[in-house]
């Protein structure tokens, strides 16, 4: 088991996760001054120390933290923070805060892991469409909406009819190469898709586990990731997302539910990996495009900057990293938490220390790394 390739699971919290109600500065009175309505009561917080603690809806992650498997990256962000969902997410995806980038950082990781694109499953996204983080021209990435029905002709329910369709497809796409390069390319791409899907769909049958994942989408995605990872198809980068963390209103209820779901899913996933002796081969990274305003709006919180990310895994050196930003008025950045470490430091750490790749061309520059994974 020990010589398996290392892999990364990225969980994107879409919509802007409220840092202050995730890692709660419950020992700081000013938190309760700024958060008159949208706060987590002191006695409910799961304490890390006398000042900071996890949201009560993160018990499974807190348990892993206590085991030393969770790195909390405090005050993560970038210069001139953008508070628009699309743009800020783009920045995280392309690792290019200053201009509109075209290549995804994880797409580059996949390209460097599998330079000749020999395995169409090196990168797998769970969800429809391709997140920009995975998009690099010429790098194949499978986007899986539903593992059971993934592939061609999911709408043909009748199995024998589907088989006829797939046979015909193979005949039409896999024939002798002709003189038209575009048709040849289409043929090759179609056959790649067919093969990739055939392989991926076998993952659920190969899998058995005592873990029962919840029915919500992120738990189901994490289960699918566990199935594919354990099936050993050579997948190194997994991606999925959950949301919406855009809690302008009704935050207390929504944020609690979302973290119940995410931390439950991540906790179950970790236990699943442990059950299969694979917890040391995978790191889970959880991030969001931005944090939220320090002051609440009476019902929720609005777009801010300065956030928190998590790295979780058997080989992660747990603890608090970065600086939890001061919430004092004078230290704020336009009403927000002031970030103190560039997200590309975390990316570089993963790329270099975990995957052993050169991070500079992947994250567009040299960034100080954290000492938080066992190589």
């Amino acid at each position: 088991m020990g010589n398996k390739a290392k892999s990364l699971v990225v969980v994107q919290l879409s919509g802007g996760n409220d840092y202050l109600n995730t890692i709660v500065p419950y020992g700081d009175d000013e938190y309760y001054d700024f958060r008159k309505t949208i706060h987590i009561e002191q006695e409910k917080v799961l304490p890390i120390d006398k000042v900071y603690g996890f949201s009560p809806h993160m018990a499974p992650i807190k348990r892993l933290y206590d085991e030393g498997k969770v790195a909390v990256i405090n005050g993560i962000g970038y210069d001139n923070p953008n508070r628009s969902h699309f743009r800020s997410m783009d920045i995280w995806h392309t690792a290019q805060p200053d201009e509109i980038g075209t290549e995804g950082w994880l797409g580059r990781v996949i390209r460097d892991l599998d330079p000749n694109a020999e395995n169409v499953l090196t990168g797998v996204n769970f969800g429809r469409g391709l997140p920009r983080a995975l998009g690099v021209r010429g790098v194949p990435v499978a986007s899986v909406g539903n593992l059971e029905t993934y592939g061609l002709f999911p709408d043909i329910k009748d199995e024998s009819a589907k088989k006829l369709a797939l046979d015909a497809f193979a005949h039409m796409y896999g024939g002798v190469q002709g003189k038209d390069p575009v048709l040849n390319f289409l043929g090759q791409t179609g056959m790649d898709a067919l093969k990739g899907a055939d392989v991926l769909r076998t993952a659920p049958q190969k899998y058995s586990s005592s873990i029962e994942y919840a029915a919500n989408p992120i738990a189901q995605s994490m289960k699918s990731i566990a199935q594919v990872l354990l099936a050993d198809f050579g997948t190194r980068v997994f991606y999925t997302q959950h949301g919406s963390f855009d809690t302008h209103s009704g935050e207390i209820v929504t944020h609690a539910k979302l973290w119940d779901e995410v931390s439950g899913a991540v906790g179950d996933f970790y236990d699943d990996m442990r059950e299969h002796g694979s917890e040391e081969e995978v790191v889970v990274m959880i991030f969001s495009e931005f944090g939220r305003r320090i002051k609440d709006n009476g019902s929720g919180t609005d777009h801010g900057s300065g956030g928190v990310a998590f790295l979780i895994g058997g080989n992660v050196k747990g603890g608090m990293y970065g600086q939890y930003p001061s919430i004092k008025e004078a230290d704020q950045l336009e009403g927000d938490l002031h970030f103190n470490n560039d997200f590309r430091s975390t990316y570089s750490t993963i790329v270099d220390k975990w995957f052993g790749l050169d991070p500079v061309p992947i994250v567009n520059g040299q960034f100080e790394q954290f000492d938080l994974v066992n190589a």
């Binding site: 302008h248 209103s249 009704g250 609440d296 709006n297 009476g298 019902s299 929720g300 919180t301 009403g335």
Partner: protein, 340 residues
């Protein structure tokens, strides 16, 4: 403010803020209001596709306290809604909500318990194809505009079919995709005959009385009216959806005035700006009633650029305190006026 010798309409306040989630304070494409016995304001959130899981009724009061909300998700299951249009309390204090997609009326208690439902898709008596407006008369009888069957149907409060009138067309007592319904103190029925650009008035048995308005952008005309209400004196208020305004007529159908809206910041909006000073500052140096270039000189475009104006007015209702509520789907708020 609009005046005639007999009528003043004074702007009171605006309630609302756009709700970007699936729960909590604020409105998401509000489509109608109804008033509970204790002065609660019930707001129907139709919700756009991205927010459909939060389809619900929110309850607040005139002091802008957000009290509670209820909903059972998007769909056609128990208590669920897909494309809700309008609502009204029946004589038993139960809330009836029309749904133009599931072709039924959902019935809730004022606390949001699911009590029942009625309606199936079809064009036979009592069946629906796109039920839209709904109103309850003083006898507790229920009127529903059956949009794509181009007719009005009348039921008991238990949903038992009583009668119907109308067919597709543009003549007297014919309809083209009718929408909102209002009732006056004599139980006459007012129908926003949407695609005929008029309001038609009937007695409670469906006998045609008269029509108000014809198509146009002129001062007295209507363009796709969505809602209609009648005050105690018989004055008629019409949300002139296509012209993005409120039209007021006297009880004989004579035009009185036309209002474009004068929304101000709600308390919820003010709280937003308190924690978002950067936006408040730039807002302060802005002209929020700008001159619009010629090619955008339509009511729709002007409203899209002028925050205080009605935009997407889909319903007008009057509470027991003679306050008039204009519901704006596109601005996620309700402008409230005092009728005097």
């Amino acid at each position: 403010m609009a005046y005639t010798s007999a009528l003043t309409i004074r702007y009171l306040k605006t309630i609302g803020i756009v709700n970007n989630g699936s729960n909590g304070r604020g409105f998401a494409n509000p489509y109608d209001v109804a008033f509970g016995a204790d002065d609660e304001i019930f707001v129907l959130n139709r919700c756009d596709p991205a927010r459909r899981s939060g389809i619900r009724v929110g309850v607040c009061n005139i002091d802008e306290e957000y009290l509670y909300e209820f909903g059972y998700g998007f769909g056609d299951g128990e208590g669920q809604m897909t494309l809700p249009v309008a609502m009204a309390f029946d004589s038993e204090g139960r809330l009836l909500v029309t749904d133009e997609h599931t072709n039924r009326i959902n019935i809730y208690s004022k606390k949001g318990d699911v009590i029942g439902k009625w309606g199936v898709k079809g064009d036979l008596e009592g069946e629906f194809h796109g039920p839209a407006g709904i109103a309850v008369d003083s006898q507790g009888l229920v009127y529903v505009s059956d949009q794509r069957n181009h007719r009005i149907q009348k039921y008991t409060s238990e949903g038992e079919f009583l009668s119907q009138w109308g067919t597709k067309g543009a003549n007297e007592a014919e309809f083209n995709l009718p929408w909102g319904i209002g009732v006056d103190t004599s139980d006459n029925i007012y129908v926003a005959d949407w695609r005929n650009d008029r309001v038609q008035i009937f007695d409670s048995s469906g006998q045609y009385i008269q029509a108000i308005g014809d198509f146009g952008e002129g001062q007295e005309t209507l363009n796709r009216p969505s809602g209609v209400s009648v005050d105690k004196k018989g004055n008629i208020y019409v949300t002139d959806w296509g012209n993005e305004r409120l039209q007021v007529y006297d009880s004989s159908g004579q035009f009185i005035s036309s209002m474009r809206g004068e929304a101000t910041l709600s308390e919820w909006a003010k709280e937003f700006f308190e924690s978002n000073q950067d936006e408040m500052e730039t807002r302060g140096i802005s002209n929020l009633n700008p001159d619009i270039p010629d090619h955008l000189n339509t009511p729709y475009h002007i409203s899209s650029q002028t925050e205080s104006y009605f935009w997407g007015p889909v319903s007008v209702r009057i509470d027991s305190n003679n306050r008039l509520y204009v519901v704006e789907s596109n601005r996620h708020r309700i402008q409230i006026y005092q009728i005097g």
